[in-house]
Every structure is written in C-alpha cells, then in structure tokens.
Amino acid sequence: MSTKEKLGWYLGALLIVLYAVLPVAYIVSMSFKSESDLANKKFFPTQWTTENYSGIFAGSGSDLFLPALRNSVITCLIATLIAVVLAMFAAYAIARLNFPGKRVVLTSALAVAVFPVITMVTPLFNLWRRVGLYDTIPGLIIPYLALTLPISIWTMSAFFRGIPWDMEQAAQVDGATSWQAFRKVIVPLAAPGVFTTAIIAFFIAWNDFVFGISLTSTSRAQPVPAALSSFTGSSYFVQPTGAISAAAVIVTIPVVLLALVFQRRIVAGLTNGAVKG
C-alpha cells in the first residue's frame, strides 16, 4: 500500500470512531447540562453540573429510576442464566450427538429469532393479566427467553462445533476418568463460548423495550428502557431531558464497558455462525 492510500484508510478509521461515539458523547454531554443549559442548542454544556445524576439517584427521579435499574438487572440476569444453561445442553447435543430433529431445533431457533416481538405482546398482555403475571418480574423473564434463547443456541452451537471433542477420549485413554476428562479438557475449551454467549444474550435482554412497556406498568417490574419513557420533569412544564439523559448514561455505561472489555469475543461470537460454511 502506498503512503497516500494508507493515509486514506487511517482517515476512514478516524471517521468510524467519530461516527460510533458522537451520539453517545452527545447524550453524555446532555446529562451534564444544567436545566437552563438544556435548551442552549450547543453540543457542550456551558456549565457542567451533576444535578441530573443526583436527581435520579437521590432526588425526585429516584423513585422511578432505582427500582427500574434493579428490575432490569434481575430480569436480564435471570433470563440470561436460564437461556444460557438450556442452550448449553442443546448446543452440546447439536455439536456432539447425532439425533433426528437436530435441524428442527436449529430451524425453530432461527424462526423464533425472526419472530416479530410485538406479535407476542397482544396475547401475553391478555393472558398475563388473567394469570397474575402482568407487571411482575417472572412475567418479563418468560418472554425474554424468546429473545435470548435462539441467539444463545446459535452462538453456542457454533462455538461448540469448533471444540475438538476427541480430546476427551484421548484424555481417558491416558488414564483420566470420564468426569476428569470432561472437566479438565472440555470445560476449559467450552467456557469462553458459554461466557460470550451469556454476554450477547444479556445485551439482547437489556435492549428490550417492547415487552418492558407492554407487560409492566409500575416500578414493581418495569425495566429501565420502559421507565425512561415514563420519566417526568421536576414540574409538569419541565421536560425531563436532563434526567433521561443521566439515566440513559447510567444504563449505557455497564454494557458499553462489557462490550469494550470483551470486544474480541463478542465479535467472534456474533460472526461465528454467520460465515462459517
């Protein structure tokens, strides 16, 4: 590559970085604006303030934000855990065993992944009200499985397919018991795939909005994305822009950090099944 060409690609890289972070930078900037600054139509605050953050953690917004944060964490963690454990068994069977219906499992996972989420909402809304699951955390976890299970099954079976399962037998030949062979050989090989799957499943659950606003109504079960849309300002006439921005930053930080720390794995997990022919 010539120097000029190289320079071009580097400029492109710089543009990508700007593209990726600018909207996030803007919402961060909004979250530090004081109430009078919010309408200044500038990118940066003229005066930096943390009042929006104290508002959602201790002030008027905390009644709504803190329970929502708790609900989101609990719901997403449990949904991820269930999905990953079930998908782990399924992926093991798909990668390792020969059984009729293997394709059916994979195809149905595919079908569920493209299922329009809103289609589930009408019947669930009605049923959940009748059986008392409306506005409860289990009432959210169950539909979240429709989001997290399919992607978990794919990602993990793509990972598991790459594991050299013969090594387990080789270890047994070398004198290890079958449990030892499994634990010492297969578990360390499978762990990164399971972990990556868990992160991706968690992202998907954390991103949910449709179920959040449809199947919950109060701070009993409402997750953060849904709570954000029901924020109100300090008075009826004040737009809750600052509070929403601060809350948005808080829900964004943990997932962005996770994405950055585990970027290699996430990229591998997302693309693994998609291109390996």
């Binding site: 590559m1 690609w9 492109g12 890289a13 990508i16 970085v17 990726a20 972070v21 909207p23 996030v24 919402i27 919010l38 309408a39 500038k42 990118f43 079930l86 068994f89 399924a90 065993l97 020969n98 059984f99 009729p100 219906g101 293997k102 394709r103 059916v104 994979l106 149905s108 595919l110 569920v112 299922f115 329009p116 809103i118 289609t119 589930m120 909402v121 009408t122 009605n126 049923l127 429709a146 399919p150 079976s157 793509a158 397919r161 992202f203 449709v210 994305p225 954000l228 737009q239 921005s245 948005a248 964004t252 962005v256 994405a259 950055l260 990229v267 997302l270 693309t271 998609a274 291109v275």
Partner: protein, 319 residues
C-alpha cells in the same frame, strides 16, 4: 476369479456386519434419546413462548373484543382483517415500514461494507481501536440511541439546526413526516450498521487473497476486483446480513415510539399493533394487526429463501 470373490465378500459382510449394525443402532437410539433429553427443554420453551402467542393471536383476531367491554366479546370471523386492510392507517404504516426497511438496509449495506473495508485495511494500533469503537452503537440500547438522536434534532434542545446547512433555527424535524422519518432512519442506521459491518468483515476475511492478487496481476482495477472477485466471494454473508437486517428493520418500534409515538404520519406496523392493543385495549383488532405482521415476516423469509436462495442452514454453520 471375480466370480468367486464376489459371493464370498457378499456373504461375509452381513455375517460380520449384523451384530455391528445392531450395536450401532442401539447406540444411535441411545444417542437420539440423549440428544432430545438435552435439546428438548430449550426446544419446548422456544415453541411454547412463541407458538402459544401466535395461536392465541390468531384466535383472538376473529373476535370483536375490547378489554374495556369484555362482555361484548363476539365472534366475527375475518371482519377485523377487513377493517384493517381497508383502513388507510394500516396502509400508511405498511408503506412507512417498507420504506424504512428498504432505505435503512440499503444504506447500511453500503455503509457497513465501507466500514468493513476500512477495518480490513487498517492495521497496527488503530485496528483494535476501530473494532472497539464499532461495538459502541451495538451495545447502546435502542431507546438510548433514539433519545440521543431525538435530542440532537429537537427544536428545544438540538444543536443540529445550527449544523445542518440550509435549515433555519426554528425548523422542527419531528413536525414533518419525511424529516421525522429521516431522523428515525438515521438512528436506526447508526445503531445497526456495526452489526452488518462485523458480518461483512468476517465475510471479507474469507475472500481468498491469492485470487485478488491474481486479478491484480492480470491488470484488474480496484473497482473490477471489488465487483468481480471480492463481492461474489462474499455473497453468502451479504445475503444473510441482508435478510437478518431486513427482518429486524421490519419490526422497527423503539425509535418510532420514543421519537414521534407515530405522530406526523410516522406510524409503523409494530407501532400500530402496540397502539391497538396496549393503548386502546382493542384486543381483537390488535391481534389481527399482529397476525398480519407475522404474515409479512413469513413472506419476507419465503422470498429470501425461495427467490434469493439464502441458505440459512449453511449460513448458520450447520451442514
């Protein structure tokens, strides 16, 4: 000679093979059983959490049923579908949804490919930074991204009016259907292009570099190499990225709900279903919209698989 060896071989095989075959079918049966024990729970949940709702929606769509007047529930056959399909609201939502899908997916494909190309070419210290940065939009939740874009363009808070040339200080992006749809598309593109570009980057890595070199030696220009070598080799990953994004874009809801709530004629099919069910408690009509949305998704899948020959099983690494 061959006359003597053939019967012997044929006779020897079943004798030796029979117990082996019986053993292997025993093993096969045990394996099948274990396979279903392990994969069964996930399968059952998958089918239950989506199968039940779609059947229930199908059933409820045949009733005139409002939650505000549950006693008036009445079987009306396909009349809900008639009401929806003759309503201009439905067609407006449909046109918007198709428009958003086509526009965002087309732009994302080109932009995503450009990003993948840059990530493919940039080496050294900058590469991990770019790959990390690209994951930021992926990790940000759609609702937050919708707020960021909304605030940037909003009349009261936005800085965009002073940045975009030819736009007055008091221009309200969300009051006009087309500019509102534009901002909705922008936020959708920003959020999901990284996903497409990562898929395409993985596809790029699979293009054999010696073929590209050979084309170079033969005197092919960069443009020719792109069209004749790189893109044909990436066809599978492009098709998969396209289908998945199209299905995803077709379900668009979060950004629309946050930015306009469907006002100014920006309703989409998902938003319509939500409004009928959750806001207006029209279970019958809402179910019918949901079923129609499901049918649309099926049609897109069917077209992709039959017309464009997207091989999903292959694409997902199975087979």
């Amino acid at each position: 000679m061959s006359a003597t060896t053939t019967p012997r071989a044929a006779g020897a095989r079943p004798a030796a093979g029979k117990p082996g075959k019986a053993r292997s079918s025993d093993k096969a049966r045990a394996e099948a059983k274990l396979g279903w024990y392990l994969a069964g729970p996930a399968f059952v949940i998958l089918v239950a959490v989506t199968g039940y709702p779609i059947l229930q929606a199908l059933y409820e769509s045949l009733f005139s049923y409002r939650l505000t007047a549950p006693g008036d529930r009445e079987f009306i056959g396909l009349r809900n579908y008639g009401v929806i399909l003759t309503d201009s609201l439905w067609w407006e939502a449909m046109v918007n949804t198709v428009l958003i899908t086509v526009v965002t997916v087309a732009i994302e494909l080109v932009l995503g490919f450009a990003l993948a190309m840059v990530m493919h070419k940039v080496l050294g210290w900058l590469r991990p930074i770019v790959r990390t940065a690209i994951l930021v939009p992926y990790a940000v939740i759609t609702v937050v991204s919708a707020y960021a874009w909304q605030y940037a363009f909003a009349l009261t808070t936005g800085f965009m009016n002073s940045v975009v040339p030819g736009v007055g200080e008091d221009f309200d992006w969300f009051a006009n259907k087309w500019t509102a749809l534009l901002v909705i598309c922008l936020s959708e593109i920003w959020k999901t292009t990284p996903f497409i570009s990562l898929l395409l980057l993985a596809g790029l890595a699979q293009v054999p570099s010696d073929t590209i070199e050979a084309a170079k030696v033969d005197g092919a220009t960069a443009w020719e190499r792109l069209w004749r070598v790189t893109l044909p080799n990436m066809k599978a990953s492009i098709m998969v990225a396209l289908l998945f994004r199209a299905l995803d874009a077709f379900r668009i809801f979060d950004n629309v709900y946050i930015m306009t709530q469907g006002a100014a004629g920006t309703q989409t099919v998902s938003a319509l279903a939500y409004n009928q069910t959750i806001s207006r408690l029209e279970i019958g009509l809402g179910s019918a919209v949901s079923v129609l949305l499901f049918v649309c998704v099926l049609v897109i899948c069917f077209l992709a698989i039959k017309v464009f020959k997207v091989d999903l099983a292959r694409a997902r690494g199975e087979g």
